[in-house]
Structure formats: structure tokens, C-alpha cells
Symmetry: C2
Subunit: 384 residues, 2 copies
């Protein structure tokens, strides 16, 4: 899959209630929605070869501007032919703006109207990230879906703080738009997404959506959620924010989430997700299954000849027992991380495929009922 | 590949000087010789799926009795269907006797005529390894080539010490033989190899070979080498030991070695090798190439778009640059370990395939000259 001249766009093929399923066209191929994007922070989805990531069912990866700008640097990746070639993933890549991660640096960063000055967590070197620099980095990487530079409003925040932060994000969104549309081939072929902020305040979310509509981005993300507000509040924000948004453009809920978060957000009209949970949990021994979660480090698995999930077709479940994977974790073997990451990402992609199929068949409510029932009667082994 | 009724045996198809090439038949499929066996210590070749190990060209793996008896235990592996099923490797497996590793425990072990009493390096629990127990463990694992329990004579050792140690190993070899041949289906289908000891003393090596001939094992290993004596002395021992051995049985040089060790040993008539070097080096950033070794952590690779080895067809060399692999090592990414281990094992297997082809064509000396010339004019970046 190399680059084509296909223009960016979304086709919705079916809806069920507020949920939608369809396809996002990009110059690097199609993304089936609702889509889950595995996170490839440092130009690799940790512990997996890209062909294995594809085998799990992923159509698109997420890359992190913050990590890549520091190491190996966007300029180096560009000299080496761009991020797709560098990491051997030829399908679509979405890059975040770096905003969320520099905000998380706490003491090491300073936010002004211009942007964010920060020190690298690796070597303490000083950097500046602005809307213009973020667009430049994402262009150097060759990103197919570029995210506007924004401030992820912390939670909790007062209405006043949230408004101030959101208003700056909207000014930054306009600067991102102007910088993105620089007449380059990259801008012509690829897409810029704006990010809706406004915390848990309906009128601020509305203001943010309206501001972004004026900017005319090719897709919209919902930011500032999954930051501690809880699932109920998150769903409430989605309930009133989704109807404000244009129907014909992709909607991306950033950093979400647990399987039941995803199911509820799809029900409310979200098309795209990213989260480190399946890959990070895989590295700590937690397995997602249709019947709940397992902690593969628990002693009860050491003699268990069953696969992690009998309904899963991934290579970890086809070829290995819980006993073997438990053994690998006990010995600190890398293969344990590899197999569990592959399984968890397959679980997430199977969930997305199930949601897509259910929406297409207008059977989403039946799917959701079954999803919750299986889990309620199954295992819950939170990791220690 | 499941178990068949093929009896164990070796067919030598060509010779060139003292070197031989051929096939070892086992109930789990054929082993092309000269063969290199990747080491799968804890029921996994570290960082690789078994299908990837096979793709490197491996016909057979080595498993470690010592590690497996402690964790997850031979009894557990047996209950779960044996080592092949447990680790999803259906081709031949050779297991060592555990002797070498318990000897290395130094203060934690005590050697008597009966065997070796030792404490686990994991939990300090007391265990006893005897020829009889070693045979039992290797049978429980379902090993296709079982190694006799022996004492790996330390180096340096006086003639007297070496003789005493070798004589005990020969008594243990007889006990191993008696315990192995217990009338089980396992014993009928699989093979026991004896281990020649005798250090750097020709008459002791002769005594050891003669003792093993009386026991009538199905293959012979050369033990007690690659323990610090240096390549010149090792080759000297092989020069006088090889002609003493039966021509129609496999000859296995244990724990060897560097690529030039292997080339010299094949020239002297060795058929089988095992060594952790390609896999362990892969995890520390060292790459083997036809032109020498590279340290992927060196700064000079960070912008290099070339593959590790332009003549290598492994997936690491086909899909990734030195710059990318260098980036992965700098970030501590698991994929770096995976790719470099895969490459190094492919390098070793390609070397074996080259040796087999050269012997079959009676062009071994030309192959060896070319092997040394390429390295002499190439890179040498020892790891730091």
C-alpha cells in the first residue's frame, strides 16, 4: 500500500440510532469505522511487528508527535523517507499534536499564548511547541490525519478556567489550520482534525464546536475527556455534544478507552478511538476477554490448558495455553508481552468489527446487551 | 509436523575433507547438517515466536533441563502435553542434561558420585539431579535428542582432575543409558547422545570416546570445550578427537560458538552446534553480518538508511534501516530485540546453509576463504 491520490473523505454506509458505520478514505487506504487505533508512540506499537498489528485488524495507527520530535526527531524521520517507511507501516497514520503530552510534563513546561515551552524528559533540553511547529512536525512525519495543536483542559477545572483554556485552543486551532494549509502536497493529500474542548460545560462545548465549524476542518475530535471525570459524565458530555457536530465528518474520541467506554461512545456516534490500554495492559499481564479480564500472573492459570479466550482467533489464543502464557510472565519472557499485546489488540479490533457489523444490521442494542451480559457472568481479575 | 514412527538415524550425503553434510531423521522431522540449534532456555527462544524461529531456517531447538525442571517443572509440561505442544514448536527438540548449568551454580551445588545436589537460583529450594532424574525429566519433556548427564570439566584443570571428572562422566553416561532405555515409547522413538570429555588431553579424550562406544549411544557430543581454552586449543582437540569417533553417527559440539568457531569445527567434522550468542547478542545490540559485527547502539547508525546486512533476506533486513533499529535500541523498544535476534539467527542459519552447500559441492575451502576475506575487509564493532 503506497500513497495514492484518493482525496480524504468519509462515507457513512449505515446508522443505528446515533451510531454510524462507514469508511474513511485516505491516500494510504481505507479506515473502517468505528475504528480503534493502536498507539505507536516511538514509531512502534510496543512488542509487535507492524504486520502483526495489521493481522489484529488495525487499519490505522497513532503516532506521538512529542516522542518522535525528541527521538529520533521529525527531521531525521523525514530524511529517512517519512514515518510510514521508517516503521514499515504503509497504511494510514494519525499523529497527535504533542499538546496533550507536553501539558503532562507539569513542572517542565510553561504555557503562553504563543505555545508551550518545555524541557525534554529524556535529556532536559529546551523545546518550544506551537501550533505552527506542531503542523511542521506532523508534515515532516508524513501524517495522514494531523491533529490541531490544543490545550487539553485539566479535570477538574472551574467554568472560568475551562472557558479560558478552550478559547485559547480555538485560537490555536485557527493557527493550526493556517499553518497546515501551506500549499504543500502534504496538505492537499491529507487531513487536519480540530479538537472540541469545553470540559463538562455544555455551552462551552457548543462554543467550541461552532468555532471549529468556522475553521472547516476535515474531522473533529472530542478532547478533554477520559481525564478523570468518569464514564457517566463522559457519556453525558457526548450525549449533548454529538448532535452539535456535522454528520458527514469523522468524530474521534481521544484517549478512550476501556471496552465498555468504547461501546457506549459508539452508541453515541463516535467513529474513532485510540488508547494505550490494550497494549499497556498486555505488558503488565492483563488480558481482555469476552467474559471479562484476566490477570495472567495469577496462580490459578499455571496448569490451565485453555486459551486466554476461546472465542478469539489470534495466534496467542490459537497456539498457546493460559498455562504457557502464565509461565512466560513468571519468567519475565518477552514472548509473554508479545502474545498478550497481540491478543488484547485483537480483542479490541474484534470488538470494533462486532460493533460495525451490528450497526450495519441495525442490531446494535442486541450486541450491546450481549456484550454486557457475557462480562457480567465472566471473570474479573483486576491487575494487582 | 506431529510425531511419526520414523526411527532416529543419520544419512551422510556428501563429504569434503573431514567435513560432512547430510540429514538426521527423527520422529519430529529432519535436521539438515551441519545444523545450528537456537537455544530456547525457558520454553521460548527469547523474543521470537516459534514460527519466526522456523523462518530463520532452524530445524531443531535446544531446551534447558535445568531451567525447565525449576519452572514450570517437567511434570507440569508433561501434564500439558509435552514441551513441543507447550511452546508450539512441533519440530525436533534436543534437551541438555542439566549438568552444565547445575555445575555453574558454584556455591549452591555439591557433586557426589550419586549426582549433584543444588539449590534453585530462583527460590533457593533444594533439588537433586542424577543421571536417572535427568533422563526422567527429559522424557517428561518429550525430548527427541536426550543428552547423557555428565560433568563439564572446568578449564583449566590438571590432567589428574580432568581424568577423575571424565571417568565419573563415563559412569554417569552408563547410568544415563540404563535409565533412558526403560522400555518406554519415548525411548524407542528418540535418541540418547553421550558426551565426550577429557579436556585438552588426547589420551583422556580417547578413553572417553572408547567408553561411549561401548555404551552404544545414537550420537556423540564433544563437551568441555568453549570454556575458556581459546579457539586454537579447541581446534587442536577436535583435530585429534574427530578421527576417533564413529563416522555414521551425529557429532555435536556443545555451546559453540562464534561464526568462525563454527566454520572451523565444521571443517573438522562437527555436525551440530548450539550457542546463545546470536540471540543474546541480539538483545544487547550486536549484529552479525557477512562483513563482521555491528553495534547498533553506535551513533554512526542513527542516519543510515541501509539494512543491517545487504545480503540478508530476513524480515529485519528487508523492511528496516539501521537508523530505525538504532532508534529502537535507543528507546529501549522490545521490537529492537526482536528484529536483531531474528537477524542474528538468520545470519547463523544462512552460514550453516552455506556450509552445507559448499560441502555438497566439494567447495568448502573456497567458501571458508571467502568467509574470512569478507570479514577481514569489513566492520568490527565489538559491543561496549
Amino acid at each position: 500500500m503506497t500513497e495514492t491520490n484518493t482525496p480524504f473523505g468519509m462515507t457513512i454506509t449505515a446508522t443505528d440510532g446515533n451510531a454510524r458505520t462507514g469508511v474513511i478514505q485516505t491516500c494510504r487506504g481505507e479506515i473502517r469505522t468505528p475504528a480503534f487505533m493502536p498507539v505507536g508512540t516511538a514509531a512502534t506499537v510496543k512488542t509487535l511487528k507492524p504486520e502483526t498489528v495489521r493481522e489484529t485488524g488495525a487499519d490505522i495507527l497513532l503516532g506521538n508527535t512529542y516522542h518522535l520530535m525528541l527521538r529520533p526527531t521529525a527531521e531525521r524521520i523525514n530524511r529517512l523517507g517519512g514515518l510510514h517507511k521508517f516503521m514499515n507501516w504503509q497504511r494510514p497514520i494519525l499523529t497527535d499534536s504533542g499538546g496533550f503530552q507536553v501539558m503532562s510534563l507539569a513542572k517542565l513546561r510553561k504555557i503562553t499564548e504563543e505555545g508551550v515551552a518545555f524541557q525534554s524528559h529524556i535529556d532536559g533540553k529546551k523545546h518550544m511547541l506551537t501550533p505552527e511547529r506542531s503542523m511542521e512536525i506532523q508534515r515532516l512525519l508524513g501524517s495522514n490525519i494531523v491533529m490541531a495543536f490544543d490545550e487539553c483542559t485539566p479535570f477538574p477545572a472551574t467554568e472560568k478556567e475551562t472557558e479560558k483554556s478552550m478559547m485559547m485552543s480555538m485560537r490555536w486551532a485557527k493557527r493550526s489550520y493556517d499553518a497546515f494549509h501551506d500549499g504543500s502536497e502534504h496538505a492537499e493529500k491529507n487531513a487536519l482534525f480540530g479538537i472540541v474542548q469545553g470540559g463538562v460545560y455544555e455551552h462551552l462545548r457548543r462554543h467550541s464546536v461552532e468555532a471549529l465549524k468556522e475553521i472547516d476542518c476535515e474531522g473533529y475530535a472530542v478532547g478533554g475527556l477520559a481525564v478523570g471525570e468518569g464514564q457517566e459524565v463522559m457519556f453525558e458530555v457526548l450525549d449533548y455534544t454529538m448532535p452539535m457536530m456535522l454528520k458527514n465528518k469523522p468524530r474521534y474520541l481521544m484517549g478512550v478507552g476501556k471496552p465498555d467506554d468504547i461501546v457506549g461512545a459508539v452508541e453515541r456516534g463516535i467513529d474513532m478511538f485510540d488508547c494505550v490500554m490494550p497494549s499497556r495492559s498486555g505488558r503488565t499481564g492483563q488480558a481482555f476477554t469476552r467474559r471479562g479480564t484476566l490477570n495472567m500472573k495469577n496462580a490459578r492459570h499455571v496448569d490451565d490448558p485453555r486459551p486466554i479466550d476461546e472465542d478469539c482467533g489470534c495466534s496467542a489464543c490459537t497456539n498457546y495455553s493460559r498455562a504457557y502464557i502464565s509461565h512466560l510472565f513468571r519468567c519475565g519472557e518477552v514472548l509473554g508481552l508479545m502474545l498478550l499485546t497481540e491478543h488484547n489488540l485483537t480483542y479490541y479490533q474484534d470488538l470494533m468489527a462486532g460493533l460495525r457489523g451490528a450497526i450495519a444490521a441495525e442490531k446494535l442494542q442486541i450486541f450491546i446487551k450481549d456484550f454486557h451480559e457475557k462480562r457480567a457472568n465472566g471473570d474479573v481479575e483486576p491487575i494487582g
